[in-house]
Symmetry: C2
Subunit: 337 residues, 2 copies
DNA sequence: TTGAAAGCGCTACCAA
DNA sequence: TTGGTAGCGCTTTCAA
């Protein structure tokens, strides 16, 4: 059977209270005793039960991570960064794929609460901020990564999406494009809206408009959705000469659409993605995209969360952490013919 | 404050034992009482604490998943399948990226034990099976997915790697290749060894050999490793005309190597991958690869694990679940010039 | 059909 | 410096 604190105490001829203090480095225990007890713990291969500790109100050293879909490389890379950093700090991470469905989000949130996570990282879009109130009222700190929620209690760590949109549009404008369309995953997500705003703004500065007909959004399966939307956008005679896709997966869908329509990329159609996931570097042609420093963001989010963990709810920060995106030019963009 | 079982009991004018029975559908409680209590639970927004339940020896409804690297699309897709299926069954999943390092594996295993997971899914290579003994002695069921451990206590769910290797080699042989080299991620992983054995066997049947110089392995960063190894293999005058890479990431590295050497794929060099991740379909050229039905495997693994959860340790299955792989022909293979 | 009470393993407070 | 002990919220006999 597994050794408990009682076994250690008995073996050491002390009370469990003493052992507990040794474990937690509290109280004043003599060097001697301390070392003796450590020795016994090692000999008995004793491992404190996180569960029992959690029951008495201590931390569980578990974080929750909500992402729409872990099989999307962007979120996989995010999960990796988060998990890595958390691991370094002694935390483990429960990863939840929400598929952007409120119902799943709710179930997961319940689950995570029941399991008493110490903190939550949200990488998924959320309509309904009420879902967070139970967490908030329990003083569980929440950071959102790569998107914002409307709740004042979540600390965002994000890339400057607006700037990203501008960057993409400017790149396209500089190459001489004037008919630029946008494909977004979902207008529910703050980051998509911001990126579109950036595009619109950049166009505006160039004296151009972003017609509503050139903004497309929606869908779950990003790849096929990107393709479907691109197909639709490219139908009209007055088709756009460039597509800005709000993520790489959508961009790849667009790439497939172009292939299907026998439009050469970048000669006949330019495509810009967003995220700079591994996908962007391997496609045919390689994708010009806006890079989100996802690894850095993941690390930052975890550090931030853990530092908030220590504080009383009152003293929590409310700062937004914003990182600037970068344009990565590959081969999917060129001057229009 | 959060409602506890005591609040519910008080409100209902019964004892906590009764409430507990209602929650767990045990004992004989009158319809009336039962409904009344359910009502009160709902009204109080009562959520049983998984932690407290776990302390008394009940399940935690948490599974552990060990993968080498969640940012590798293959494992991301695996994680997604596992997580999805687990979620359907009411379980959550703690995902751990081991980087194939024994030390990390050990830490994670400790962590998972402390948190009392109900079951473990191993998707990572493991040298040291001793790390599993603590789990085994606690009767925690373990299934390995897409690879085997040497421990008799883990139930494997895998693709027929040997057949996969053969499939790849046969495809190449049929196209007229005779100088076929193999790039593997690590010989520590059973699946790699099996795939190579399959290749060797197929070659053997065709009266050919797989020289040791044509087998390359090792490394962590799969992409750059694939490139490095391909570069090395393609150096000699007697260079191979085809490369079988033990996963898609390696294959993409090889693709990059070919580009660097200005070798056209597939005209001058054929490349076959393994896994059929999303990557394979978007590369330039799209990758011929061996498909692992990863979604199916993930589901199977979870179902298997959960069904084992119910059984006493003695009655556990020892069956291997093997699925046949499929060849997916795209554009990275052709007859040698 | 229901309830009392003994844990589960640990923490934290108060005494000694 | 150390130990006693009352919980933490829930499950599970055993009695009533």
């Amino acid at each position: 059977m597994k050794a408990t604190i009682y076994d250690v105490a008995r073996e050491a001829g002390v009370s469990i209270a003493t052992v507990s203090q040794v474990i937690n480095g509290k109280g004043k225990i003599s060097e001697e005793r301390r070392n003796e007890i450590f020795g016994i713990m090692a000999r008995l291969d004793y491992r404190p039960s996180v569960i029992a500790a959690a029951l008495t109100g201590k931390k569980t050293y578990t974080l929750g991570l909500l992402v729409p879909d872990i099989s999307n490389p962007f979120f996989a890379e995010m999960a990796r960064a988060v998990e890595d950093q958390a691991h370094h700090a002694g935390y483990s991470v429960v990863i939840c794929s929400t598929h952007n469905e409120d119902e799943r989000i709710e179930r997961y949130l319940m689950l995570l609460q029941q399991k008493s996570i110490d903190g939550l990282i949200i990488g998924t879009g959320m309509d309904n901020n009420d879902l967070l109130t139970p967490l908030v009222s329990k003083d569980i700190p929440i950071v959102s990564i790569a998107r914002e929620t409307r709740s004042p209690h979540t600390l965002p760590v994000l890339v400057n999406d607006y700037a990203g949109g501008r960057l993409a549009a400017r790149h396209l404008l500089e190459q001489g494009h004037t008919r630029i369309a946008v494909i977004a995953e979902s207008l529910k997500v703050s980051s998509s809206r911001e990126r579109i705003r950036g595009v619109r703004e950049a166009l505006h500065e160039a004296g151009l408009e972003l017609p509503d007909a050139f903004v497309s959004a929606g869908g779950h399966d990003l790849l096929s959705e990107g393709k479907r939307q691109a197909l639709a956008l490219l139908q009209p005679a007055e088709r756009p000469t460039a597509l800005f896709c709000c993520n790489d997966l959508l961009a790849i869908g667009a790439l497939q659409a172009a292939k299907e329509l026998i439009l050469r990329v970048p000669e006949e159609l330019s495509i810009v993605g967003f995220d700079n996931t591994i996908l962007a570097s391997v496609t045919d042609p390689p994708l010009t995209t806006i890079a989100q420093p996802i690894e850095e963001m993941g690390k930052l989010a975890v550090d931030l969360l853990i530092s908030e963990l220590g504080k009383a709810a009152k003293k929590r920060t409310h700062e937004r952490t914003v990182i600037e995106p970068e344009l990565v030019v590959r081969s999917s963009t060129a001057a229009p013919q």
